[in-house]
């Protein structure tokens, strides 16, 4: 079993009021020097069987059609701990 992580973020040109609210709260909490915050979503998929190219292609399709709305969001797909698995 392997874990595939899909990160979804609003496209950079789209206003993110939630991220802005978080950013504005930071100085009150004593965190200085953070000029921007954008909030996104992270999906962790536990995949049965090997995460080969075919499996990744299917997950990519799932991300593109369902987990993200590509009209307003960008996404990335990555296999967790891929470095150790690959070497």
């Amino acid at each position: 079993m392997a874990r595939v992580v899909v990160d979804v973020m609003l496209k950079p040109e789209i206003l993110d009021p939630q991220g802005q609210a978080v950013q504005r709260a930071l100085p009150r909490l004593g965190f200085e020097g953070v000029s921007d915050v954008r909030q996104g979503k992270r999906f962790e998929l536990e995949v049965d069987g090997p995460v080969d190219d075919a499996a990744l292609a299917r997950i990519h399709e799932l991300a593109e059609s369902f987990l993200a709305n590509t009209v307003i969001e960008d996404f990335t797909v990555k296999v967790e701990e891929v470095a150790e698995v690959g070497k």
């Binding site: 609003l10 040109e13 789209i14 206003l15 009021p17 939630q18 609210a21 369902f66 987990l67 709305n69 009209v71 307003i72």
Partner: protein
């Protein structure tokens, strides 16, 4: 002989009954449709009502868009069946890519509920022929995720093709780009808007006006004359 207009109930729909009532008041026959049912019961048009279908999980409308009923609605909308999406229904239509752009949380991060002034920008769609272009109406608005967004090119295209169907007047309640309250597809059979015309069909309730009723008389006129 009157028109049969379907109203879909999803888990979490709130305004399906009000919509059925509005359809009846306009003189058409409301037909209840169920999200798990692919069968549209031979209706002439469909309304996707407001609410919080599937709890708004993932994104508003994102899960509803893949429900069995939507398979048929999407297919038929593409071949010309009139579809109106109100509030959550509008969100579902953008998720289904029957309308361009997307819906996001209000820019002020609060739920908003108010009587909203709108301008009808396009009185040629299947759902707006009983309005006049430029007419200002008051309709209740209530939402958390009412911010319409699209890229500049899409916005310019919508403006150029007269596909901004409704615009907020005097006050933009959610940060929607270019004050867009509702849009139509190219053919004019699919219309979506955030405000709730079905809540403004009787003088007794709401703002005391019936400014929303022409949505339902428009479609009736369109279908009966067709």
């Amino acid at each position: 002989m009157t028109a049969r207009i379907g109203v879909v109930t999803f888990p979490g729909s709130l305004d399906d009954r009000d919509t059925q009532r509005a359809i009846k008041l306009a003189g058409a026959e409301p037909v209840a449709l169920w999200h798990k049912d692919k069968d549209l019961k031979q209706v002439d048009a469909v309304v996707l009502p407001g609410g919080f279908s599937y709890g708004d999980y993932l994104r508003t409308g994102a899960i509803s868009r893949f429900s069995p009923v939507m398979e048929t609605v999407i297919e038929q909308a593409k071949s010309g069946m009139p579809v109106l999406g109100i509030c959550n229904g509008f969100q579902i239509l953008t998720e289904a890519h029957l309308l361009p752009g997307g819906m996001l949380g209000n820019d002020h991060l609060h739920f908003i509920c108010r009587d909203q002034k709108l301008r009808v920008e396009n009185a040629d769609t299947a759902w707006t022929v009983d309005y006049e272009s430029g007419q200002e109406i008051h309709v209740p608005l209530k939402n958390m995720d009412g911010r319409y967004v699209a890229d500049e090119r899409t916005l310019d295209m919508l403006e150029a093709e007269g596909r901004v169907a409704f615009r907020y007047v005097d006050f933009n309640p959610n940060g929607s780009l270019r004050d867009i309250a509702g849009i139509t597809n190219e053919a004019g059979n699919v219309v979506g808007l955030m405000p709730h015309p079905e809540h403004a069909v009787e003088p007794l309730i709401g703002s005391g006006r019936t400014d929303g009723l022409p949505f339902f008389t428009s479609i009736l006129k369109k279908l009966v004359n067709a």
